[in-house]
Symmetry: C2
Subunit: 229 residues, 2 copies
């Protein structure tokens, strides 16, 4: 998809009955991770000369024999080796000129993955975890896509315990709060946060304590399986 300078090959041009099949369909995945109290997004260095030096989201053309959702799973699986992850369709971007070398309509998904997961292999130098925060450019309309997905994520975490995908199985309430603060990009009141989380009943108290912290250790929790997925 990225290197599609051949989108207008003679072969395609003359097959005019394919008029309506001259739009390519792709998926782009906003893969969010969480590391060092920051929300990150997995980006890849663009291989298009139009976007030299810039990064883009992970995406690929959809194959004729796979569902749209499957395509986004495949992209994620190929890049991270993770399966069975949370993936959510958000919006489809279809401006005529959004791709410099041809017409590509792209459906955006976002996903949340645990950067420390042992299965997660970022074995490509062009791939990197980039902070979500801050002003920077991305190739194509990918900054729009990222922004749109982040908005959706912000709404989602209020209602659903999706952030479990970002954390290790055991975590303290402070860690959980820090994830929320990173996603919302805003500080939260500790007592009110704990009250709200308690009310939602998402967590199971493990009766274990944090270890190796240079202060009073906190209790550890995990997500109640019945609310996740």
């Amino acid at each position: 998809m990225r290197k599609s300078s051949s989108l207008k090959t003679a072969a395609l041009e003359k097959s005019s009955h394919l008029e309506y099949f001259r739009i390519a369909v792709s998926v782009d995945c906003v893969i969010f991770g969480y590391e060092e109290k920051e929300l990150k997004v997995l980006l890849i260095k663009s291989d298009l000369k139009e976007f030299a030096g810039m990064y883009s989201l992970l995406g690929d053309l959809v194959r004729p024999d796979e569902d749209l959702d499957e395509a986004s799973y495949r992209v994620l699986k190929e890049r991270t080796d993770l399966d069975d992850v949370f993936l959510q369709q958000v919006h489809t971007f279809g401006a005529v000129n959004r791709h410099p070398s041809g017409r590509v309509v792209s459906t955006a998904y976002y996903s949340l993955v645990n950067i420390n997961n042992h299965k997660l292999k970022i074995n490509n130098n062009d791939l990197r975890w980039h902070p979500v925060k801050g002003a920077y450019k991305l190739a194509f309309d990918h900054k729009d896509i990222l922004t749109t997905c982040l908005q959706h994520l912000r709404g989602r975490i209020e209602e659903h315990p999706v952030v479990h995908n970002l954390l290790n199985e055991k975590f303290s309430l402070r860690e959980l709060q820090e994830v929320y603060e990173a996603i919302l990009n805003a500080p939260l009141d500790r007592r009110n946060f704990r009250k709200k989380i308690t009310l939602k009943n998402w967590l199971v108290d493990l009766n274990e304590m944090e270890d190796n912290v240079p202060h009073r250790p906190g209790k550890l929790y995990k997500f109640n399986k019945k609310y996740i997925r």
Copy 2:
């Protein structure tokens, strides 16, 4: 990785692009109207033999030179002769087998139109306004699409004065409440409804009264232009 390497050779590029262009892109529009205290949807008799006798949403393939959003405007314009209407993208449906005669990925939009608008010409015998409520089948996965759009609409009307698209310019609070009840498929408390609407400040009191009603006439309102669109 997979994509990068496959994109490196021109030969592969050509063949795989031909492959990838075998997915067609379409839009489907859920056009909602309101009539006789009921929410309706504009449907067309399917011309596919697989769906003989069934109705489907209005949709069309996206042209290579039009934005996705433009395509949905065009479909609406062609069918209703209305322009400048509210249209909202909701979700993209991309299951491999959703269309019996080929691979078609379709982006769903919904729209709200005033069935009594003088410009609205349903000049086709195969077109009809069908009640949204009730169990019935539609061609393709259009029942899913309709349900998804209805859910989104239900959320939307709580926050935005979009229902103005369904009503005449002047209306009573009763009429407005009936529209909400039709969309939500639930009765609402009159006093609470009026309180909520008043709080939102969407309406302008016209200092006019209903006429030709067999009971005490209500005041007439219109939407404050600054909140619509």
